[in-house]
């Protein structure tokens, strides 16, 4: 083992080159322009064993994995977002490029693999030349060779390697060809550097000028002319020149034809509306049965566990109502997240996502948003949690944060039962269609209010980052479903691991507030006579909630605040419970108003009559008037009544700033709006 011997004699301060110990594995970084086949290569190199993390204090993601064991070279592989050049032009690019030169966790890479789409050689060589010039020990992976062959050209890799001074390998990730050769080249170069004890000194390019870019392009164009060889030697020089000219000037022919359709002012919009409709219905309707399944799964689990544990103990309730339900409320969002990420993956990998963003960019810029904000906003109508995660596709940080900021205003599906109950109260029972119109108006209004809020914030918040679009419309491609599924699995796992604990802690706190201090409550016999066991336990639950810490807070803190809105502490308690999820408001109202109905279908009916009979603390005026119900609806439209959303928001933006702003600002605004509406309605005599 010559390597180790050398290492022992060498007074290297850093344990930087150790081939035999696996304490510090070589670090290989993958770089490439967007759509250059980088992520597909990463998948082929690492298999399914990789994880996604964020750069410290930032929301830029990178993935780490290890070479598959079959390659016989043990190394850590890093994949970060695609870059255009080594000169960053946005805060996120600064993080990505700094991470390339000096990764916060892995330091400077030992080897760099740059992917290069050979059908765009002059553009892609740009980044490769920059990387090599910066001093990295580089291996070039040529992708899309089959597409180039269809255009009757191939790359002379020996010549290209000579010109660049770096090994060049042709790969095809889908067919898994060239991958092991690529790894071989990487390991050879790594070992050679090691034997020669070559220190890699990298220098980050500083403020390049436009002339520098032009010069670099002169080099790439010249190189392209040299290394592209006609695949068909029978062609004469004129035909070759024509084909070379076409390769240079004409984008992918099939894509050009499809774009005539997909970007057409009429057909393009029609296709856009249909595809967005499919996304919306999928996350709204297809996810619903799965969510119900998870929901009922967890409640039957909670039921069976409850029977196994000693009855009427606080820890029985903690485990069943606190922990299992808390975990259930994390898992219930998984179907929507999975479906949304599969669909987003399909749109992205086929090449349509970029086109969809282009189609609707203009109207969204009016509100400081971006074409890519559309899908997250649409998803917000199903649930804010997957929607906020979908905002990752917005590359401009300011526009991403702004989109995340307004997503909670979109009328999510958890508001449906609340609106359903309150509208049913307002509307005469023989005219249910009025409630339908009301619901439609609420949906439309949430879109308007979201846009207005985005517009106002973007006017007031100073621009640190200029809004740009500059988006490559990649050639249409058939997506690899396997990779999309793997990607979706990884993203869902990140949600469960990172947002999950916060959601569980929040639901445990809410559980404790609504359960203590009178957990061991027994009702006197005379109050429960004539009721079934189920009815008794419902009454007990009601008495427990109405004497809980939440009720104490409701009575002492919320009641004075809520009185001007026409509400009392019972609504306050339900609002506290509804921080777990908005739809909990309805079931919580049923508990506070002591609905003993067992049949679920009758709960709403009994609750409605209980609401009609409910009186204010004076015992005379009805609690629920038109004015107080309208103010409640308005409150639910704006208030950030969902702590799970806040948890995901914290995770996606990397700080509590935006979630706290949402809780503070939206709740305050909701309060003021409800207050105004209640008083105006009372003033004009509608109550």
């Amino acid at each position: 083992m010559g390597f180790t011997a050398k290492n022992e004699n060498c007074h290297e301060p850093k344990p930087f080159k150790t081939l035999t110990t696996d304490k510090k594995l070589p670090v290989i970084v993958l770089i490439g322009m967007p759509n250059s086949g980088k992520t597909t290569l990463f998948n082929s190199l690492t298999g399914s064993n990789y994880k996604t993390s964020n750069y410290p204090g930032a929301t830029v993601e990178y993935s780490t994995g290890k070479f598959k064991s079959g390659f016989g070279f043990d190394a850590i592989v890093l994949d970060s977002p695609g870059i255009i050049s080594l000169n960053p032009s946005s805060p996120d690019e600064i993080i990505t490029i700094n991470g390339l030169f000096n990764h916060p966790k892995f330091g400077q890479p030992d080897e760099v693999i740059v992917t290069c789409d050979t059908t765009q050689l002059s553009r892609q060589l740009f980044l490769i030349k920059q990387v090599i010039d910066a001093g990295f020990s580089t291996v070039v992976a040529l992708t899309m060779n089959d597409l180039l062959l269809k255009k009757e050209f191939e790359v002379d890799i020996t010549l290209l390697s000579e010109i660049l001074g770096a090994p060049v390998v042709k790969i095809n990730s889908a067919k898994a060809s060239g991958i092991s050769e690529l790894v071989k080249k990487v390991s050879e170069q790594y070992k050679e550097n090691f034997i020669l004890d070559k220190r890699i000194n990298v220098v980050q390019p500083v403020n390049p000028k436009e002339e520098d870019v032009a010069l670099l392009y002169d080099f790439t164009e010249e190189t392209e002319r040299k290394v592209l060889k006609p695949a068909n030697t029978k062609l004469d020089i004129n035909e070759i020149n024509k084909k070379f000219f076409d390769l240079h000037r004409k984008p992918d022919a099939i894509s050009a034809k499809l774009d005539k359709f997909f970007l057409h002012p009429f057909w393009g919009m029609l296709i856009f509306i249909i595809s967005m409709g499919i996304i919306f219905t999928s996350i709204f309707w297809i996810a619903q049965p799965l969510m119900d399944l998870i929901d009922s799964g967890f409640s039957s689990l909670s039921h069976s566990v409850s029977h196994l544990l000693p009855q009427d103990t606080w820890y029985n309730n903690l485990i069943t109502n606190g922990l299992i339900n808390g975990f259930g409320s994390v898992m219930v969002f998984v179907p929507q997240i999975v479906i949304l990420f599969i669909l987003l993956g399909l749109l992205e990998d086929t090449g349509y996502l970029a086109r969809a963003a282009m189609l609707v960019d203009k109207p969204l810029t009016k509100f400081g948003l971006n074409g890519r904000s559309f899908i997250p906003m649409l998803s917000g109508y199903a649930c804010a949690i997957p929607a906020i995660m979908a905002a990752r596709t917005i590359s401009n940080r300011r526009e991403r944060y702004l989109t995340i900021m307004i997503i909670p205003l979109m009328s999510c599906s958890a508001r449906l039962p609340v609106y359903g109950l309150l509208l049913a109260f307002l509307v005469p029972p023989d005219k249910p269609w009025i409630a339908g119109i009301g619901m439609g108006a609420l949906y439309l209004f949430s879109l308007i209010s979201g846009s207005v809020v985005a517009g106002i914030i973007s006017k007031f918040k100073e621009t640190e980052e200029k809004s740009t679009f500059m988006l490559e419309l990649p050639p249409y491609r058939v997506p690899v479903f396997r990779y999309i599924l793997r990607n979706t699995y990884n993203k869902s796992l990140v949600y469960v691991k990172q947002a999950g604990p916060i959601i569980i802690i929040i639901s445990l706190v809410l559980w404790a507030l609504t359960f203590f201090p009178n957990y061991d409550l027994k009702l006197p016999r005379e109050k429960t006579s004539g009721l079934t066991e189920e009815g008794i336990s419902k009454l007990e639950e009601s008495a427990r909630l109405n004497n809980s810490f939440a009720a104490i807070i409701g009575k002492n803190v919320f009641e004075p605040v809520l009185k001007p809105l026409g509400w009392d502490w019972r609504i306050g308690v339900s609002l506290i419970s509804a921080f777990a999820a908005r739809e909990v408001f309805v079931s919580s109202m049923a508990i506070t108003f002591a609905i003993t109905e067992e049949d679920e279908a009758n709960i709403q009916g009994s609750l409605l009559s209980a609401m009609r009979e409910a009186k204010k603390s004076d015992g005379i005026t009805p609690l629920f008037s038109i004015a107080s119900t309208v103010s409640l609806i308005l409150y639910f439209m704006f208030a950030m009544q969902c702590l799970s959303t806040a948890a995901v928001c914290r995770k996606e933006t990397g700080s509590w700033k935006i979630p706290l702003l949402q809780i503070g600002l939206y709740t305050l605004f909701a309060y003021i709006l409800s207050l105004t509406a209640y008083n105006v309605l009372n003033f004009i005599g509608i109550n």
Binding site: I84, S85, N87, S89, T119, Q120, S122, R123, F126, P208, E210, V213, A214, Y217, L247, H248, R249, K250, P251, D252, S255, A256, D259, K260, L263, H264, P265, G268, M269, A354, A357, M358, L359, V360, D361, K362, P363, T365, G371, K466, T468, F469, M470, L471, E472, L473
Partner: protein, 92 residues
């Protein structure tokens, strides 16, 4: 509708109609916006001397899809205005 200018007049990429082609004469010269991302436009491949053509426009006429170096890139109108075209104007 952008006014129809003389084919040899100096105009920008934003003035071209769908299907029009032109040669880039300069990028970001006398650009009024100091925060302009002209360098990034060049890095994307919009260098002087390159032929560009407008592939499609969005229904709102902005952004435009431009073909350069065999790639299609969508640009907002404001960005396309940074790219000056010396058209030898032929239609495809």
């Amino acid at each position: 509708m952008p006014e129809i200018t003389e084919i040899n007049n100096i105009k920008t990429l934003a003035d071209l109609n769908t299907g029009d082609k032109g040669i880039i004469s300069s990028v970001g010269d006398d650009c009024l916006d100091v925060h302009c991302h002209c360098l990034r436009l060049m890095e994307l491949g919009f260098t002087p001397g390159q032929e560009v053509s407008v592939v499609a426009k969005s229904p709102f006429k902005d952004p435009v899809a431009v073909s350069v170096r065999g790639t299609i890139i969508a640009l907002r109108k404001g960005e396309a205005e940074c790219i000056k075209i010396s058209s030898n104007g032929f239609h495809s």
